[in-house]
């Protein structure tokens, strides 16, 4: 019988975090940005069937970057948790803060206890009745939750994208200006991104009960032109 080597907890956590970060950095990035009527979510995603951004509930959307099967499993867990709460209590009792906390619990648990941490970062976005009540909860692979305002950037090359977003963000954005800002930040100065490279969705106030909508490619093209 060989004895396992002692690995100090600091080293263990660092190794796991490096592993997760590497996995996430390989994927394409995603931006969530507030505009006048709600929140715009733009992901760099050339597939029109495998989604990175989806609807969770009436006013809540989910976005994930990293390993598809892992964030999609989290997405499904979120839809289930939200629909169960809405069914057992009321639709008004479903909120992003609670969902974000539960995601944080699960991701933190997996990070410390499972053989491999999740290689994902997720965003839980919720629109309120006014833009002051909009929420962007950014959750990391280890369960760290960040309550962000104005905009949120996830995935590979996030630091550079944040710098570009900060330079161009304006709190009075309409939809097309917000889209142009997100598009420019994702592309940077040395890359071209066309409408078909983007997955564009909105959570928009005044869109009826279910506020989530996908923006068709032709509309994206028009707004970027």
């Amino acid at each position: 019988m060989s004895m396992p080597f002692y690995v100090p907890p600091e080293q263990q956590m660092k190794d796991r975090a490096d592993f997760a970060r590497k996995g996430i950095a390989r994927g394409r990035a995603l931006v969530g940005v507030q505009f006048e009527q709600g929140i715009l979510l733009v992901a760099e995603n050339s597939s029109s069937t495998l989604r990175k951004v989806s609807e969770i509930y009436d006013r809540i959307a989910f976005a994930g970057v990293g390993k598809y099967n892992e964030f999609d499993q989290l997405r499904q867990a979120g839809v289930r948790a939200a629909d169960l709460t809405g069914f057992q209590y009321s639709r008004l009792d479903v909120d992003a803060r609670s969902l974000a906390n539960q995601y944080a619990q699960i991701m933190g648990q997996i990070f410390t206890h499972d053989s491999k941490p999740l290689e994902v970062e997720i965003l839980v976005a919720e629109i309120g009745l006014t833009s002051e009540d909009d929420r962007l909860f950014h959750i990391l692979y280890d369960g760290t939750v960040m309550d962000e305002s104005n905009f949120s950037v996830l995935g590979g090359d996030a630091e550079a994208i944040i710098v570009r977003m900060r330079a161009n963000f304006n709190s009075g954005f309409d939809l097309s200006s917000a889209l142009r800002c997100a598009h420019g930040a994702l592309a940077g100065s040395d890359r071209q991104l066309s409408a078909s490279d983007l997955e564009v969705t909105t959570l928009r106030r005044g869109n009826g009960r279910r506020c989530f909508a996908r923006v068709p490619e032709v509309d994206v093209q028009l707004m970027l032109a």
Partner: protein
């Protein structure tokens, strides 16, 4: 609220009902026969733009009126609706579950169920209610919607065992269905206009209320009119009360002039 991560072998999939049983939320059927408020008459018919569904507003508890403003015709999702007769409590619960089931599937899968798939889903729910139906809590729905694939309105009715029957013209359910159904049967024509369909549905509910004590007529005093809704390529729309008020007024005038 609890968030569940399921492993692939016990994953409930896109079904909300499977999810409910996987997390242990279940409504047991009663052990003996019980009397509860009952919802009564609903009719549905196909017309040129799609389907029309209509239902009176009364719920009865024995020979008493339990509720005057019950809504038995409800939207299931953008392109479909359910009309329900039978035990009011289980019926409302079934509608709520059905609406949620359609939305849950859509969110999980990223696309809507086909209209046929929705009709089958409702059939399974009615079948699941059979133990309760044996104790007097029968629920008998009508399902109607606009089938985008075939570009036409479609209608289904059900029996208590979940038997599912697609109807080509019209269907009626509930205690007043004999009278309401007969009126629709006599008046129904191929390619009816919206106005003709609304008028025929109102007429059928009028006659049902006239002959069946459990069916409520238009209540001009309280401003409570039957729910009439149409489902077309543009989706679900309910017919406004003031339009119904004038349709019922003309029926009343006609009856008075006899």
């Amino acid at each position: 609220m609890a968030m569940h991560l399921f492993s692939p072998d016990n994953n409930p999939g896109s079904s909300f009902m499977n999810l409910l049983s996987a997390v242990g939320v279940q409504t047991p059927a009663p052990q003996s026969r019980i009397d509860v408020p009952h919802a009564t008459t609903c009719v549905a018919l196909r017309y040129v733009d799609g389907v029309l569904m209509a239902g009176d507003r009364r719920a009865t508890a024995g020979s008493l009126i339990g509720h005057r403003g019950m809504e038995k015709v409800v939207q299931a999702d953008t392109f479909s609706g359910v009309a329900i007769a039978g035990a009011a409590g289980p019926a409302m619960e079934m509608i709520r579950l059905f609406q949620l089931q359609l939305e849950h599937y859509e969110k999980m899968e990223g696309k809507q169920l086909s209209l046929e798939g929705k009709a089958n889903q409702l059939s399974m729910m009615v079948r699941g209610n059979l133990p309760a139906a044996m104790q007097g809590l029968a629920v008998v729905p009508i399902f109607g919607g606009f089938d985008a694939l075939h570009e036409t309105g479609r209608l289904w009715d059900y029996d208590v065992t979940g038997g599912r029957y697609e109807e080509r013209e019209f269907v009626a359910t509930g205690s007043g269905s004999l009278h309401a159904g007969t009126v629709v049967k006599v008046g129904w024509r191929t390619g009816m206009t919206r106005a003709a369909a609304v008028s025929l549905a109102c007429r059928s509910l009028w006659e049902a209320a006239d002959a069946d004590s459990a069916t409520g007529g238009p209540d001009a005093l309280r401003g409570i009119y039957p729910i009439v809704a149409i489902i077309t390529s543009a989706g679900w729309q309910s017919v406004p009360d003031d339009e119904l008020a004038s349709v019922f007024q003309s029926i009343a005038n006609e009856v008075q002039a006899r």
